[in-house]
Amino acid sequence: MDAITENWDLYFRSFGYTVTLFVIAAVLSMLFGTLLCALRVGPVAIMRAAATTYVTLVRNTPLVVVFAFFSFAAPMFGLTFSFLDVHIGQFDFTEAFGAAVVSMTLYTSAFVCEALRSGINAVPLGQAEAARAVGLTFGGTMTQVVLPQAIRASVPPLASVQIAMLKNTSVAAAFGILEAVGQMRRFTNNFSSQRTEIFIFFALGYVILVLLLSFAASRLERKWRIA
């Protein structure tokens, strides 16, 4: 027991990294995923094709490979995140964190885009027709009329996607971030006699985070339900 109980600071710090990584990547992936989705239903053929190819490729690649790309391959063509050097309290956000945020964002965006597309399908036809009838352009139709409704309609699938991402942040452990699973592996190495307790504590941490997120999503869904 004392592995965890004497190191609560490390335990909470590691979940702090998990949560920070999750929040930043969640916001960015929502933005980028929405943009991708707009491109996918937009009028310019080549943009549609590019966005569709992107979503297809990324959806079918394991996250580990995406991480490896930004950690090891990207520096070869000069893309590094070394400019990132932020230190807040006990937390350091540096190169590895930048690469993790970008990997998580680009990966999750593909799924956000798919979820939103199902939401767009749920928006009644008349809404878009009416928008065009009053003279809105494609950009206007999307940003003023369709997307706001689509996002509301797709709260449940978007929540699923983001919850899956919360759990996926564990992959960052192998790429230089001391988030929950990384810390767990350090604990289990240092206190190998208390392995089971360590696992249970970390699993509970995840269960609590996921429950919080599910709760928030269902509140949001009820609040935003289209009458």
């Binding site: 950690s71 090891f72 520096p75 070869m76 590094t80 995140f81 070394s82 350091d92 540096t94 190169e95 590895a96 452990a173 192998a174 790429f175 230089g176 971030i177 001391l178 990384g182 592996r185 350090r186 289990t188 190495n189 240092n190 206190f191 190998s192 006699s193 392995r195």
Partner: protein, 297 residues
Amino acid sequence: MRIRKAFAATAVGLFAATALVACGDAGSDDKEGVEVEAKDDCDDKFEEGSRMAELAAAGKINVGHKDDQPGLGFEGATDDRPSGFDIEIAKLLVADLCIDPEGDGVNWEVTISDNREPFLEQGKVDLVLASYSITEDRRLKVGQAGPYLVTGQQLLVKADSDVESIEDLKGKEVCSVTGSTSIERIDEKGAKGVGFDSYSECVAKVLDGTVEGMSTDGTILAGFAAENEGQLKVVGETFSEENIGVGYSKAEPEMCEWINDVLTASFDDGGWAEAFEITLGPSGVEVPDPPALDPCA
């Protein structure tokens, strides 16, 4: 079953295609290793009822090793059995039980940091030689004899770097493997350990300049420095001492004396030095003096 068939067809197709185009020939040079002859004096060498006698009588042994540390314990995708310094020492021990180290009597079992103790406790392996540092916490659960190798942690940086020791990297990021003992030592020294999955990944990070340095056992670092001559260098004094030992089950304390005896014999007859020379020597590490063994409890 349709998937299986389609898979088989694709596999055959790929095979045919590559066979027609060009057959590569990568990595076919065999790994070096010392030829170790099995002994044949086991009939009354071991005390009756001891674990060693049982193993020798059965002619079978399970050995836990690492498969991702070139030079110490490594097994390639197409290798039949692992290679490295750990493996050479294991071969000496196995041979002393009159089991042919190259034969089918030895079952080489891959272990990782997470499963070495459970493997020993549950009897899945009889011996662990997996760059297994001797620590107090581990000795609570399993027995550790040796050490057969004492290494110290050093620092690997770019060849043009001004960094001279770990002290110069206080507060900076230093790469190592997630969940290893090395990464803890980095933190103790005031630098910030960032963990990746393997040391070769850390090398890539140092080479592309995204971290300033990496740190682990000097023997491993020397290998990487030799591989990337002119681009990387090992700097600074060793700042920790890792005692690499042989793991055995606590239920069989008689193993300790035997392991120490075999190790002592190999220190004396040069078997230990030869194993070192052939596995870690090529990367430019001088053969050190054999370490002093811990007494058995």
